[in-house]
């Protein structure tokens, strides 16, 4: 094992994902304002998605170009949300 491909510690990522999933399920039963729950849930979901993309999909170890490609759909989503917000009120 000398060619230490300083790769990510996959098991650590797994435990983080598992812990965050359990926390997410626990949070919805908490007796705190709905807004607070929503913020916590979205924060944890984005953290989990980022963990998967950075370590399992190796984005952290790739060229920046791939990260920009991966982030491009979010631009569309933000645009879409901004377009739709006026219709909601």
């Amino acid at each position: 094992m000398s060619q230490a491909h300083t790769g990510p510690n996959y098991m650590a990522v797994f435990w983080w994902l598992l812990a965050l999933t359990i926390l997410e399920v626990a949070v919805i039963y908490l007796n705190i304002p709905k807004m607070m729950i929503a913020i916590l849930l979205v924060g944890m979901a984005i953290t989990k998605a980022a963990l998967v993309a950075m370590y399992f999909m190796h984005l952290k170890y790739e060229r920046k170009t791939l990260t920009w490609i991966a982030l491009s759909p979010f631009v569309l989503c933000v645009f879409l949300i901004l377009m739709l917000i006026p219709g909601l009120s």
Binding site: F14, L17, L66, S72, L88
Partner: protein
């Protein structure tokens, strides 16, 4: 001649930021970005309908959270076995690859089985009884379109993984191809993480 062959890999990347070590990998990332836009649009539309509706159900009260938490756990596990199978094939360990890729395929198939069970239960009992069936409420339509679109992706991923499984065992595929199929599989896992939060928990 041999000099040129040695020079080649180090000279290539400087030419353009889009010139990757692997064209297949770049292709898969472009596909994933396009696919993510479809999922993003569906999720944003779900949120808009929910915001506009005065009678939207609380999803966690209508849908079973425990079963879907188990499905989330299954997909996360399958992602871990997927990276393990890639490490195995990089070491040249075909036996390890067989075990881990086999587990990945089984987890994917188990996920689909659970989803089929969940859908049957929702369509036949839970949703009609709660007054949110397909024909009466937009909730059912948006929910089934989103989870169905994802379920089709899992089905495709399982078939893809089965093909890769046999191609590696035959020796026609190597680490590069396994990494690319891994990208797709992790993406499907990533989308489920978002669906689990935005559709089931929020």
């Amino acid at each position: 001649m041999s000099q040129a062959a040695v020079m080649h890999p180090s000279a290539e990347p400087a030419e353009s930021p889009l010139t990757p070590e692997s064209w297949g990998k770049l292709g898969m990332w472009l596909f994933i970005a396009g696919d993510a836009m479809s999922f993003g649009t569906l999720i944003v539309c779900y949120g808009t309908f929910r915001g506009l509706s005065s009678s939207w159900p609380v999803p966690s009260a209508v849908l079973g959270i425990n079963l879907t938490a188990l499905m989330t756990f299954l997909l996360i596990c399958s992602s871990v076995t997927m990276v393990q199978s890639l490490s195995a094939v990089q070491r040249g360990d075909v036996k390890g690859f067989t075990r881990f890729m086999g587990l990945t395929i089984l987890s994917g198939a188990a996920f689909l089985g659970l989803q089929a069970y969940e859908w049957t239960h929702l369509i036949n009992h839970t949703l009609p009884e709660a007054g949110f069936s397909f024909s009466t409420h937009l909730f059912a339509a948006t929910f089934f379109v989103l989870t169905g679109f994802h379920g089709m992706h899992v089905t495709g991923g399982v078939i893809y993984n089965i093909c890769v499984f046999f191609a590696v065992r035959r020796g026609t595929y190597g680490a590069g191809e396994v990494e690319i199929s891994g990208l797709y599989w992790h993406f499907v896992d990533l989308v489920w993480i978002l669906i689990f939060t935005f559709i089931y928990l929020l």
